[in-house]
Symmetry: C2
Subunit: 123 residues, 2 copies
DNA sequence: ACATCATATATCCACTTGGTTATATAACTG
DNA sequence: CAGTTATATAACCAAGTGGATATATGATGT
């Protein structure tokens, strides 16, 4: 439910593969386990992690407990990432601008820095 | 560098806070540590995780090792999420459509299901 | 009631993680 | 040089993770 558990759930390649598989449609535990060289209980654990993170939910079809995607949790994570990606990008632009400014400034007052007297140059 | 390490790095609230702080500009380790009730080595560890994930990089300013954002890694994570969010959404739409269809289908051949004979209804 | 299939739970293990305190290193300052 | 400041490393610990195997539970079909 939280960003913590969502990102943690996404940090495992097996779980991301399970999500990818589920994007093709509902699947039972055994169906999900089949492509992996891993025991069924291991997959059940991964499923529990995904369910706990709110990324999937489960139904009932006779003995099967089919898993389906639950887009909401992914959406929240995506919002955080998208928001911060934008901010980071903006920060980068501004930083580039600043570096340009500083370079120009330095070039003006010290046209040919010979580097031999550069001991106290920084700060 | 990998999605694994990126998502894992993002799964911790302290680290997300550090990233948020860095979106306001470069900061030294001590500056980053200040808002948290946590030891400096603990913060250094978090920083190492972020650096390992490629989310930040470090410079040198006298004794300080200022941290700055590195948008690329976040961008990759964002791409994965955005891509799959779209797929999930599409899947959801299709599912809704299918449910509609099935409901309509069932309504046609059994206009008034009284539920008392519903034992073998599913599959 | 019983055998079977699908899934869950229990236990165990090696490894990782997030934190601590104490100490070492690195860069500057007088 | 000695002292100070910023950061990193080491050693340790409790708790969590990802895997295994063995077993229990739950639902169905006969």
């Amino acid at each position: 439910m939280s960003l913590d558990s969502t990102f943690a759930a996404l940090a495992d390649p097996t779980r991301r593969a399970i999500l990818a598989r589920l994007s093709l449609g509902e699947a039972s535990v055994n169906e999900l386990a089949e492509p992996f060289s891993m025991s069924q209980p291991a997959i059940s654990k991964h499923i529990k992690v995904l369910e706990h993170a709110g990324l999937i939910s489960r139904g009932r079809d006779a003995q099967r407990r089919p898993c389906r995607l639950e887009p909401k949790a992914l959406d929240e994570a995506n919002q955080w990432l998208e928001h911060h990606r934008a901010i980071f990008e903006a920060r980068f632009q501004r930083l580039d601008g600043l570096l340009e400014e500083m370079k120009a400034e330095r070039a003006k007052r010290k046209p040919a820095p010979t580097k031999s007297t550069s001991k106290g140059a920084r700060k």
